[in-house]
């Protein structure tokens, strides 16, 4: 019961999509069914995101209650969740500060706190990738040397200053890098990876539909 029912639901939910693919959605009942199932999936998908938030809130709340290490910071996280969420769910009819409109607290907190923080977190990676390039990027063997040469050429070619320098060596060199390295060798490898990964994803989808793959159920 605990496993068979979810497996049957997964099979039916997936089969609707597969069968609908072969029929004109406007002329068959399957089209309408497909549309309803997709609309339902977007609703259930929304709840899964909320589940994540509730889980974060719960974990942090427990840590604060039990005074775990760094509970003060966890309290800050809890206050931040509430500061963002509560004004957002109060109807904007009461005040433009509520809701998620352009003048709301929600919008302001995102634009002036959350977005710059996210951008800075990722900007810091520039330092670490430079450090990795200096300390770990060694031409130890043929493969590593090929990797190093390709990376150097692409780094040069992809910026105006490097492109001018390459064109000074030979006027067709920048175009050749684009054609043969990016559009030739790189493209061929990416294509191989795409074909392999897509075959794997299709096989995994089939396993899920047939109930062979059940790890997502916690089995």
């Amino acid at each position: 019961m605990r496993t068979i029912v979810p497996v049957i639901i997964a099979f039916l939910s997936g089969m609707v999509m597969i069968l609908a693919f072969f029929f004109d959605p406007e002329k068959s009942i399957l089209g309408e069914l497909e549309q309803n199932v997709l609309s339902w999936v977007t609703i259930v998908g929304g709840f899964t995101l909320l589940l994540g938030v509730v889980s974060i809130f719960r974990v942090n709340l427990i840590a604060v209650k039990r005074r775990h290490d760094g509970w003060g910071y966890k309290l800050v996280t809890l206050i931040s969740i509430l500061a963002m969420a509560i004004p957002a769910i109060i109807p904007s009819k009461l005040s433009p500060l509520f809701g998620t409109g352009t003048d709301s607290i929600y919008d302001w907190l995102f634009n002036y706190l959350d977005a710059p923080m996210m951008a800075t977190m990722f900007a810091m990676l520039a330092f670490y990738i430079s450090s990795a390039a200096f300390r770990a990027f060694r031409a130890r063997n043929t493969e590593a040397t090929l990797l190093l040469i390709a990376a150097t050429l692409v780094m040069l070619w992809r910026v105006p200053m490097g492109e001018i320098a390459l064109a000074y060596i030979h006027p067709d060199l920048p175009q050749a890098i684009n054609t043969y390295i990016m559009g030739g060798i790189n493209m061929a490898v990416q294509r191989g990876i795409i074909i392999g990964a897509a075959l794997g994803a299709a096989a995994m989808s089939l396993r899920i539909l047939l109930g062979i793959e059940r790890t997502y159920l916690g089995k």
Partner: protein, 298 residues
């Protein structure tokens, strides 16, 4: 010739502090010296405004020409499939695309599959540009916002946009928006302009382009760009903008140089510095290894 002399001068400028800081990093094994160097080579060109002419890649030209070839007043779906973390690369692409689309009087429908910030970013950027071109919400552009589970969203919009998006981002039912009266599904959209920083761009191809024969072009972050070459080559993707350089190229083509064009000087200097650091790192490594061998022998 002048450009080459400029490059030689900048290379010397790069090499001196770079050599000192790289030597200190190597000797002390403290990477913070390297961090100082990276910060210097990004800050310096922004402060003194170092700039070089941006050349155009064939992939960017293809995208620009495909959009330019659309009849005026066409309907274009512009996606904001990126997080705030990559705004530096993607926002200039969206802005340049909107300049192009609004200039051509295209009707712009925006959508996002990103739950964290997608709707807010699309609202901010679109309204900003619409104001510049006196475009009216509901007539010239509509922001559909976000719906969960992007695979279902992309698939569902193929049959009916209003079934997936009963209302726009601010909650107005689509039936009350004049522009949406004749936009039912992908058949009524002339071009899909994807700006993305993640794998969602591939689903716009595998689900939307291949099943609904929609014309799709994209601007993606540099991390994503190498993969997209495969789709450009197979003809599934109409043009590609790769990273900040791609954004600078599109800015140049639409005649609105912005933050991406401005960033190209810093990008150039930082790349040259990293190349110098890779070469010197290897030199130091080989010298050290040679010395080690000699010591062993003696």
């Amino acid at each position: 010739m002048l450009e080459v002399l400029k490059i030689v001068a900048y290379t010397i400028l790069i090499c001196i502090p770079a050599a000192v800081l790289l030597y200190l990093t190597f000797k002390t094994d403290d990477r913070r010296y390297l961090f100082i160097a990276v910060a210097f080579y990004v800050v310096f060109p922004v402060v003194v405004t170092i700039s070089f002419p941006t050349s155009l890649s064939p992939e960017s030209i293809t995208l620009y020409e495909a959009v330019d070839a659309l009849p005026d007043s066409s309907t274009v779906l512009l996606t904001f499939d990126y997080y705030a973390s990559t705004l530096a690369e993607t926002e200039p692409m969206s802005r340049a695309a909107l300049h192009h689309l609004f200039k051509k009087d295209c009707r712009v429908l925006t959508v996002t599959t990103i739950p964290l910030g997608g709707p807010t970013i699309s609202e901010r950027v679109t309204r900003d540009l619409a104001e510049e071109y006196d475009k009216v919400y509901g007539l010239d552009f509509v922001n559909l916002g976000y719906k969960a589970n992007y695979v279902a969203v992309l698939k569902g919009m193929g049959s009916s946009i209003s079934a997936i998006y009963p209302a726009d981002n601010s909650g107005t039912p689509l039936s009350e928006i004049p522009m949406m009266a004749d936009i039912k599904n992908y058949d009524d959209i002339d071009f899909i302009y994807v700006v993305a920083d993640n794998g969602i761009v591939e689903y716009w191809i595998s689900i939307v382009q291949s099943q609904y024969q929609a014309q799709v072009g994209c601007g993606v972050t540099a991390v994503m760009a190498p993969k997209i070459y495969a789709y450009v080559s197979s003809g599934q993707m109409t043009g590609l903008l790769g990273g900040m350089k791609g954004a600078a190229e599109y800015e140049k083509m639409v005649g609105h140089p912005g933050s991406a064009t401005q960033g190209m000087g810093a990008q150039s200097m930082a790349h040259l510095f990293i190349i110098v650091s890779v070469i010197s790192g290897n030199l130091m490594f080989f010298i050290d290894r040679k010395r080690g061998r000699k010591r062993k022998l003696s």
